[in-house]
């Protein structure tokens, strides 16, 4: 059987968290963290997922590995359904998807040596500790992420943040996954070290053909590393397009505002650019706006004289064919701002 083209297919995924639920108390309200999110990642592709805090981007990543259980929807990893699978049967699927976390300090056990940390996933999945030509897997993994194989006997506290993040990446690579979910992998690192980790991820993608879901709030890094980018707002995806297309030609008013808010280190550009300043804060996901989730802050809606449809009807994805694949945007007026 030929391999499926898409390593990941997420369809109409919703995740919600109960508020105030207890042993004998039913939840009265839910935080709707992710609503009706659909996207795909093909083999060897990097999809960037951007959004502000509370947009649900982390929850999407965690739902794929079933850290947070989805409420509705379907997640196919390499063609097999993940939602509803019993925990015991998750293991073969987990081998295909691994995760790299934001904080390299809390995501490594301080009492385990690096060898212990890297051997654990191998043992869990019954994988050999030696390669076919007799080399030590742990040393091979450390070399792969640019660390000295001699470091295997050390403990996490003996490493800097950047090195720890490399260890976290080595741990994810140990089971030879086909998809790695990176949740803000560089935001805890110093600026001068961030580029080192970004380059490592890119070279791994090239040499091993791994697909990435790259979750981050730094829009410039996401543009750099991603083939395609999805923008989330308040639990839903508002726009997906190829990285070039999205940044050159953003269509959703939220994406436009987000991009215009990113400061760049050039005073001339900064002083002359037109910034779209959004008013107010992101609404609470316990009390979602009706219609389009963005309508309460939308500058385009205000410009059009607050059309009613924005507050009553949730916009469907509209597909715009481009040179770089399909550009999808969920807005009533983005394509035709009358």
């Amino acid at each position: 059987m030929s391999k499926k083209e898409n390593i990941l297919v997420v369809d109409k995924l919703s995740v919600r968290f109960p508020i105030g639920a207890g042993l004998l108390k039913r939840a009265k309200k839910y935080v709707r963290a992710v609503n009706d999110v659909s996207f795909t990642i093909s083999r060897g592709e990097t999809l960037g997922l951007v959004g502000e805090s509370g947009s649900g981007k982390t929850t999407v990543g965690r739902a794929i590995v079933r850290v947070n259980d989805p409420h509705q929807g379907s997640i196919l990893i390499d063609g097999s359904e993940v939602v509803g699978v019993k925990p015991g049967q998750m293991r073969p699927l987990r081998r295909k998807v691994q995760m790299v976390f934001q904080d390299p300090y809390s995501s490594l056990d301080p009492r385990q040596t690096i060898r212990h940390i890297l051997t654990e996933p191998l043992k869990t999945h019954n994988l050999p500790l030696k390669t076919a030509d007799g080399k030590d897997r742990v040393e091979e993994l450390l070399t792969l992420v640019g660390l000295d194989p001699k470091f295997a006997t050390r403990y996490p506290h003996q490493f800097s943040g950047g090195q720890r993040q490399r260890i976290g990446i080595a741990r994810a690579l140990a089971v030879e996954p086909e998809l790695i979910i990176c949740d803000e992998p560089i935001s805890a690192l110093d600026v001068s070290v961030q580029a080192q980790v970004v380059n490592l991820l890119e070279s791994l993608k090239k040499s091993l053909g791994i697909a990435f879901l790259f979750i981050a709030h730094d829009l410039a890094v996401v543009r750099h590393i991603s083939d395609r980018v999805a923008v989330m707002y308040l639990g839903g995806i508002v726009e997906i397009a190829s990285s070039n297309e999205l940044y050159e030609n953003p269509k959703h008013p939220y994406t436009q505002a987000l991009l215009s808010a990113v400061p760049v280190p050039d005073s001339d550009v900064e002083k002359n650019r037109k910034r779209i300043i959004l008013t107010g804060d992101i609404p609470s996901p316990t009390n979602m706006p009706t219609g389009c989730a963005f309508h309460t802050r939308c500058p385009l809606r205000a410009k059009l004289g607050n059309p009613e449809i924005c507050s009553t009807t949730k916009p469907e994805f509209q597909n715009v064919p481009t040179q770089d694949g399909v550009h999808q945007v969920s807005c009533h007026f983005a394509l035709d701002p009358k």
Partner: protein, 334 residues
């Protein structure tokens, strides 16, 4: 020439730790004029925040001290002032705002109580007048329905609102200098844009001087006039913000600018990171602290510490091999 508002000369700060003395700030000098805005940029551990805390006597007393240097504010020496005298200046003519508004506000007092407390610490006004002032201040920083908000607790406000409330508190004494330590780092980018715009407008309106401490070179570009880049407790480059970003002379500054992807430039195939990492502050190299990571380093760099020298008009660089040509800028722009 008129006297600068703030003049910091050869400031040195040391911490005592179990591993001996750690020099966090090692001879920092800069000046800020009336109404001027300066950015202090550096990575974690570069000493940017510590140097700002030192200005207003907020360093932890048991573990740290200013070992040398002078801080003159309107010609008056601040180093060595008694706690009582410092208290008058702090939150008076010099105010500070911090990165994390949630942990810098008192969770059990309302926003109004906290602002009035500060007003009444510096001025003789009664509670009612102070509360009215607090409402005006919240209005000034763009908090809608300030009359209700003034009675709310910090947890009832969003992150952006809390930072606005902190700014209102800092402005209550009409300071002539505002120290802003990473004021937008904890905020989302659209909220960051709101707060930066607010700070820039307030600075102009109230004719304050501003020191903005940040690690983000993008944030400084738009609204600071001067820029001091710090590395391992030293200023390595100083100058006008626009020129400095366009034509960096110190290899650390240019390396930093090369290592970040930028939305205003076409996508590049690969980033150029600075190799290695910042030195352990208890074991700083003898010569230039950046030498172990620097492409241009020679024996001299490893052995002799370079001092800040003016190499272009208005540009000071601490480097034995400043890049001193505009072709670096061209290669950056590629």
């Amino acid at each position: 020439m008129s006297e600068p508002l703030l003049e910091v000369r050869d400031l040195r700060v040391e911490f005592n730790s179990s591993q001996g003395h750690v020099s966090a700030v090692r001879g920092l000098s800069y000046t800020v004029n009336e109404g001027e805005s300066m950015a202090l940029v550096g990575e974690s551990g570069s000493g940017k925040s510590v140097s700002a805390l030192a200005l207003i006597g907020l360093l932890p007393k048991r573990t740290s001290k200013i070992t040398a240097g002078s801080v003159k504010f309107r010609g008056k020496e601040l180093v060595g002032l008694s706690e009582k005298e410092l208290q008058k200046i702090r939150g008076g003519s010099i105010s500070m705002i911090f990165q994390d508004p949630l942990s810098s506000l008192n969770p059990v007092l309302t926003v109004g109580q906290q602002i009035t407390e500060q007003i009444r610490a510096h001025e003789k006004v009664d509670k009612k007048q102070a509360l009215n002032r607090a409402v005006e201040l919240l209005d000034l920083v763009g908090i809608p329905s300030a009359k209700e908000r003034v009675l709310q607790y910090p947890h009832q406000l969003s992150g952006g609102m809390r930072q606005r409330a902190m700014i209102a508190m800092a402005l209550s004494s009409k300071p002539s200098l505002l120290l802003a330590d990473e004021p937008t780092t904890a905020l989302d980018v659209t909220i960051q844009a709101q707060i930066l715009e607010l700070l820039a407008n307030l600075q102009k309106e109230l004719k304050m001087s501003l020191i903005l401490i940040t690690h983000d070179l993008g944030v400084v570009a738009g609204f600071t006039e001067k820029l001091t880049v710090m590395y391992s407790g030293n200023a390595v480059e100083q100058g006008r913000t626009a020129d400095l970003l366009a034509n960096p002379q110190h290899p650390y500054t240019s390396g930093l600018l090369r290592s970040i992807p930028r939305l205003d430039r076409p996508r590049t195939s690969e980033l150029k990171p600075i190799p290695g990492m910042a030195p352990d502050m208890s074991r700083i190299p003898v010569g230039c602290a950046f030498a172990p990571r620097c492409e241009l380093a020679t024996d001299k760099c490893a052995n002799e510490k370079p001092l800040l020298e003016e190499i272009l008009r208005g540009r000071q660089v601490a480097c034995w091999h400043p890049q001193n040509n505009s072709s670096t800028h061209e290669s950056l722009a590629r």
